[in-house]
C-alpha cells in the first residue's frame, strides 16, 4: 500500500493529467446518450450568466441608440429620399399583395388547406452570442418558464433563425442555421427543387443534395419545405448567392445567403406548441 502511494506521489502530475483527461473524455463521449434535459452544468451557467449578458447587451443597445439617433446623422437626407422612394414602391406592391392574399385565402379555404403559422409566436430578445467563432449560437431571454423547450423553431421577421438547443429556467441557447450542425429541409421557390440547407460555420449556408440537372440561378429564393417537421413550410431561409457544378459530382454546390442578418439580430420569435404555452401559463 505504501509502495502505491510512493508511486502515486512520484507521478502525481501524470495522475492528475490522466484524471482530468478522463473527465473531459467522459463528458465528451457521454453527450451522445444524454437528453438535453440532463445538462445541469450548461443550464446552471446559462441561468447564472444570462442576467449579466442581458445587462451588457441592454447597455450596448442604449449607447448604439444614442449614437444612431442623435450623433450619426451624416447620410440622413440621402437615406430619407431613398426611403420615400421605397415606400412608394411598396405601396404599389402592397396593393398587389392584398389582391393576392384575398385570392389565396379563397383558394385555401376551398381546398381546405391549413394556415401557415398555427403555432403561437413568443417574442424574445437576443442577449448574447457564442464565445467561440467555431459554433454559431445565440442566447435569448426566454426559458422553460415561458414554455421554451429544446427543438423549437426560432424565426425573425426576415426569416428562419434556428432552433432551441438548450433551455434553462429563464434563458435559452439557439443553434443558428449558419452552424455546420444545423440542417433545414428547403426548396427553391422558383423551381420547387428540394434540398437541405446546412450552415458553413461562418455567415453563409449551403444548399446540399440538389441534383446537377436542376436549373438554379443566383437570386433565387430558398424557402423552408416543411419536410423536417420543425420549420413551417414557406418561411424564407435566404437567397442563392452562387452555384457551382463539378463534373464527376452528382449534386451542385449552392451557396445561400441567409435572409436574416445574424450580426444585427436583436429580436426573434419562438414558435411554441400551443400545449406548451398553456402549460406554462398554469401556476
Amino acid at each position: 500500500m505504501v509502495k502505491v502511494f510512493t508511486v502515486l506521489e512520484r507521478h502525481r502530475y501524470s495522475a492528475l493529467f490522466l484524471v482530468l483527461l478522463g473527465g473531459a473524455l467522459a463528458m465528451l463521449f457521454s453527450r451522445a446518450d444524454r437528453q438535453p434535459e440532463s445538462q445541469p452544468l450548461q443550464k446552471a451557467l446559462l441561468e447564472l450568466s444570462g442576467p449579466f449578458q442581458k445587462g451588457i447587451t441592454k447597455g450596448i443597445g442604449f449607447f448604439e441608440g444614442v449614437w444612431q439617433r442623435y450623433l450619426y446623422l451624416v447620410h440622413l437626407e440621402e437615406e430619407n429620399r431613398l426611403l420615400r422612394e421605397i415606400i412608394e414602391e411598396m405601396k404599389q406592391e402592397r396593393i398587389q399583395l392584398l389582391e393576392f392574399r384575398g385570392e389565396n385565402s379563397r383558394l385555401r379555404s376551398l381546398l381546405g388547406f391549413k394556415q401557415g403559422f398555427q403555432r403561437p409566436l413568443l417574442p424574445a430578445e437576443v442577449i448574447g452570442k457564442d464565445l467561440s467563432g467555431w459554433f454559431q449560437t445565440v442566447v435569448i431571454d426566454r426559458g422553460k418558464r415561458d414554455g421554451i423547450e429544446e427543438g423549437m423553431a426560432v424565426v425573425s421577421v426576415q426569416g428562419i433563425v434556428g432552433q432551441i438547443m438548450e433551455s434553462s429556467k429563464s434563458f435559452a441557447r439557439v443553434l443558428l442555421i449558419t452552424d455546420p450542425n444545423s440542417a433545414v429541409a428547403a426548396l427553391i421557390q422558383r423551381t420547387r427543387a428540394r434540398g437541405v440547407v446546412e450552415g458553413d460555420g461562418r455567415q453563409l449556408c449551403r444548399l446540399k443534395y440538389l441534383h446537377r440537372s436542376e436549373e438554379i440561378e443566383p437570386g433565387d429564393l430558398v424557402l423552408a419545405s416543411g419536410l423536417d417537421g420543425l420549420y413551417p413550410k414557406g418561411v424564407l431561409i435566404g437567397t442563392v448567392l452562387r452555384t457551382e457544378t463539378k463534373d464527376p459530382e452528382l449534386f451542385q454546390r449552392v451557396e445561400v445567403k441567409p435572409s436574416v442578418d445574424f450580426r444585427r439580430l436583436e429580436d426573434v420569435m419562438v414558435l411554441c406548441e400551443k400545449r406548451d404555452l398553456e402549460e406554462a401559463d398554469q401556476p
Binding site: 451522445a32 450596448i60 464565445l131 467563432g133 450580426r263
Partner: protein, 172 residues
C-alpha cells in the same frame, strides 16, 4: 488566490466577449480568450494547480458556447501540458517565445477540432471556411494578447512588461 483571479477574469472575459466584443468586432474576428488564458497559466503557474485551472477555463469555454462539454476542456489541458513540456526543453526569453507558443497552440487547433468532430460525428466546416474562421481567430488573438496579458499581470501585481512575467514560471 492568483488562480482564482485568473478564473474570475476568464469568466468576465467570456461575458464581455459573448456580448460587447461580438457586437463590436467583425463576424469572423473572434479572439480565443480562453486559449490565451491557458497559455498564460502555463507560463505562470506550476503544473498541478495550472492543470486544474486550465481544465476549468476549458470547461468555461464549453459552457459559454454551443460546443459539446469537454471539447475545449480536453484541448486546454493538452495545450497546458504541451506548453509546459516546451518550456522545460527550450530556454524561453522575451516576447518572441510567447508568440511562438501562441503559434503552436493555434497550429494544433484545426487538426484537433477536425479530428474530434470526426470522432464525435459533428459537422466540421468546409476547409476554406475552417481556415477563414481560424485565421480570424488567430489574428484577433494575437492583437488582443498583449492587452490581456498586461491586464492579467497588473491584476496579479507582477512587475515588468506584459511578457516578462513568465520568468516566474515553473517548468514541468
Amino acid at each position: 488566490m492568483s488562480y482564482l483571479i485568473v478564473l474570475l477574469l476568464g469568466m468576465l472575459a467570456a461575458l464581455v466577449q459573448s456580448t460587447l466584443l461580438r457586437a463590436l468586432l467583425p463576424a469572423d474576428f473572434v479572439p480565443d480568450i480562453i486559449l490565451l488564458l491557458v497559455l498564460y497559466a502555463s507560463l505562470l503557474f506550476p503544473v498541478g494547480k495550472g492543470l486544474v485551472l486550465s481544465f476549468a477555463l476549458g470547461l468555461l469555454a464549453d459552457l459559454f458556447s454551443g460546443a459539446p462539454e469537454g471539447l475545449n476542456a480536453l484541448f486546454a489541458i493538452t495545450l497546458f501540458t504541451l506548453s509546459k513540456a516546451v518550456q522545460a526543453r527550450v530556454f524561453m526569453r522575451g516576447s518572441r517565445a510567447i508568440w511562438g507558443l501562441v503559434l503552436l497552440a493555434f497550429g494544433l487547433k484545426i487538426p484537433y477540432y477536425a479530428f474530434l468532430s470526426f470522432v464525435l460525428g459533428l459537422h466540421f466546416p468546409y476547409a476554406r471556411d475552417a481556415v477563414l474562421v481560424w485565421l480570424g481567430e488567430f489574428v484577433a488573438s494575437l492583437l488582443l494578447m498583449p492587452v490581456l496579458f498586461y491586464i492579467l499581470s497588473k491584476s496579479l501585481g507582477l512587475q515588468g512588461g506584459w511578457f516578462l512575467h513568465h520568468q516566474r514560471s515553473s517548468p514541468a
